[in-house]
Subunit: 445 residues, 2 copies
């Protein structure tokens, strides 16, 4: 008998008696047709009916500040995205076996945002599909089977993506050809040696792969190590590891599903680490919620794969998804959201650091752009993780109608990742809710 | 060095000098940024700019009758789909970790179209993702690893879906835990024994899996065997095979990505075979081009998987995709498209049979609803396949601005699969183009 799986910040459906009758009725219907695979966030789930900008509204008209969702990168119900998608739907929506202009225009525009050695793109629909494809390309072009991933990574839900996603838990088997290495730990490491030590762990991981009979094909690393607890610092810490991977004849796959499209204040998270990825995986925010994802990569890899293997994704790069993705680039540029991620992110992190000051249970507030992590510990000396308090703060903020979540290897890291349109105006609400939630969950004096 | 892969009906990019200058310019840009993975249909690709109903329009304003695409099942640029998606985009588009009404409403409505033992649904974005998930569910709930698929099947492009897709060619490795069995062959078999013989092949396939050390977890079969040459008859021929699979303690996964949503005149292709699938995979037409797919299945399987394994698809079941899918159900029902698939499909097949009469190179015209196959042979006695003529007819019809393609194990089967809104009014255009194309490609008297 396998163990039941664990998910941080998930609603316990057996506790539904606490819900309002309307919500309970909907939940019961939902349990019947969607069942166990469908988990809800929060001790008290949120029943949403509409959204605008950084606000979500429940069925009673109450608003929630969304400080969690990176998919609506240019804001919920963004009117430009809406307009472009609606317009395209009335004109043409088909696949890439026909010549169409927009997918080429967008591909050129997207690639211009990458270093020049990344010359081609393949479109898919989800981050999982793009990760799966990147792994296929790596396996095919290197002729090798070994993969390095970080010890608490999440890269997706297809079989191949789940195989490099140890954060899915002990019921998710990690196959023999995947070796896991500890991610850098921003809080616990010495910044002077972290890059070298991570590179050394990758070297040992490659040795381990070879012992198992697998030559290394690729390392796949989330450029901001979101599921490994959001490890941000020091910038550059992934660079030497990428060199080790290249020296071993393997590819570096930068997973930008969470860190991409301006989240960190630059276009891509890997830029902070001054590394040269061979393949880059894009997803979530790419179409502001219209499914679109991509693998960007070296032309020689794409050409070799495309020459030998038939790959076609019916919905990949369809005109409607491309319209949404084009509107997202327009908005990120037009609203100067990279700059906003940098400034508002710094301001938010500073404010949260202030609220955390003197609280011995808050060991660290760190961030890159508008991706902020707060690490909770039971003891400031031992740094023993405090998952319970992290969960309590998440729920306390939800009671104050500010939505965040928690993650990390020990479930003790608050994950604050609002739409990039969050402005200074909305910041006080985030900071007040955080300040109160920190205080009401503090048990020691 | 691996061989270059083969794709039927693909444009040769080295032949671009025959194209108009504008198309050549676009193609050159496309080759630079999208590269080898992106193949175009037809000796002379079609450069599309808009669409309406069953018509596609090129940049010169010329219209093409779409007799190939099943994604726009309720017609290109369908105004109801457009309206519903546009409306939803201005209201709410988020994921299933929050309570929302529409995904539950749609799930109930969808499940009401299935036999009562199929009680739950999990949403994803593409057919590949849904196939991948169905295989994961089968593996997890049976605790087994062996898979049976048909010898020229196509089920998708993730690693796990490609592993059961031998039609992707010799550069696509089929792993040890997958055993391939010959599909029924409507043209070459004896209808009286085909069901029994297919079941016997499945039995031998299961034996082979066991010899390799794999107990059978599932058989995955496209209910209309599209890539195996569109094998339609006799109805019921898959039933005994499904019983063999159940008796072996394995699951039957019905792949309805091509045969689902009214294509065959009923809602689902498996209904023609009076079999009881354990899991059903839905895709392509589900959202008329907005990415959405699903696995429908037995509640016990879904519950066991969902209890043990963390599965979450960020875009799966998002409100916009659900809005599109709801509009598709509205249109299929409101426009009585199941009835239309039956009647117009029969009329089209009859007309094409008439055009084929007396042509020794056309061995069979078969169909189920609005999915029509025409099988080309070099010799009516030996039934030796004629891929060259199939390709010639596809291109001759494209010259007459009627779009179809070819497929099948020997690339010799024309694939005619128009939107289900094709009416009797448009039929003469299809039939005239077919008649002429058959005549101009006929070499012997």
């Amino acid at each position: 008998m396998t163990r039941q799986m664990h998910m941080v910040n998930s609603f316990d459906p057996t506790a539904s008696e606490s819900l309002a009758p309307e919500d309970r009725a909907l939940l019961e219907r939902r349990q019947r047709v969607l069942g166990a695979p469908y988990r809800l966030f929060y001790r008290e789930p949120v029943h949403l009916v509409r959204s605008e900008g950084v606000l979500l509204y429940d069925r009673n008209g109450l608003d929630y500040l969304d400080a969690y969702n990176n998919v609506p990168v240019v804001g919920h119900s963004n009117p430009r995205v809406q307009e472009r998608v609606a317009q395209q739907l009335s004109v043409l929506n088909t696949h890439t076996r026909y010549l169409t202009d927009d997918v080429v225009d967008y591909a050129e525009r997207l690639l211009a945002l990458f270093p020049p050695h990344l010359e081609q793109v393949v479109f898919a629909c989800t981050g999982s599909e793009a990760v799966d494809l990147a792994l296929r390309i790596a396996g095919h072009t290197t002729g090798r089977t070994g993969i390095i991933a970080t010890a608490h990574a999440y890269h997706g839900t297809t079989q191949a993506a789940a195989a490099v996603s140890p954060s899915l838990g002990t019921n998710n088997p990690i196959p023999d050809n995947v070796v896991l290495v500890e991610a850098p730990d921003t809080l616990r490491h010495d910044p002077a040696t972290t890059a070298r030590e991570f590179a050394a762990r990758i070297t040992r991981g490659i040795d381990e792969l070879r012992r198992r009979g697998h030559q290394p094909a690729a390392a796949i690393v989330d450029s901001i190590l979101s599921s490994d607890g959001l490890q941000t610092d020091p910038p550059g810490m992934l660079g030497p590891a990428a060199e080790v991977v290249r020296d071993a004849g393997a590819l570096w796959i930068a997973d930008e599903v969470q860190s991409g499209f301006g989240r960190t204040g630059g276009w891509w998270g890997f830029e902070r680490h001054a590394l040269r990825p061979d393949l880059v995986v894009l997803g979530k925010p790419m179409g502001n919620g219209i499914p679109i994802s991509a693998v960007v990569g070296r032309a020689d890899l794409m050409e070799a794969f495309g020459r030998d293997v038939r790959y076609f994704n019916t919905f990949g790069g369809n005109p409607v998804s491309i319209a949404a993705a084009s509107a997202v680039l327009d908005e990120i540029t037009g609203l100067d959201l990279l700059h906003n991620a940098t400034t508002t992110g710094a301001e938010a992190a500073l404010g949260m650091s202030g609220a955390a000051a003197g609280d011995p249970g808050i060991a660290d507030v760190r961030h890159a752009g508008l991706f902020i992590a707060v690490e909770l510990v039971r003891d400031p000396e031992t740094l023993a993780p405090d998952a319970a308090r992290a969960a309590a703060i998440v729920d306390a903020m939800r009671q104050r109608r500010v939505l965040i979540s928690a993650s990390g290897r020990y479930d003790n890291v608050l994950k604050v990742r609002p739409p990039l349109t969050l402005s200074s105006n909305e910041l006080p609400r985030l900071l007040e809710a955080f300040d109160e939630s920190v205080r009401v969950t503090r048990t020691s004096p």
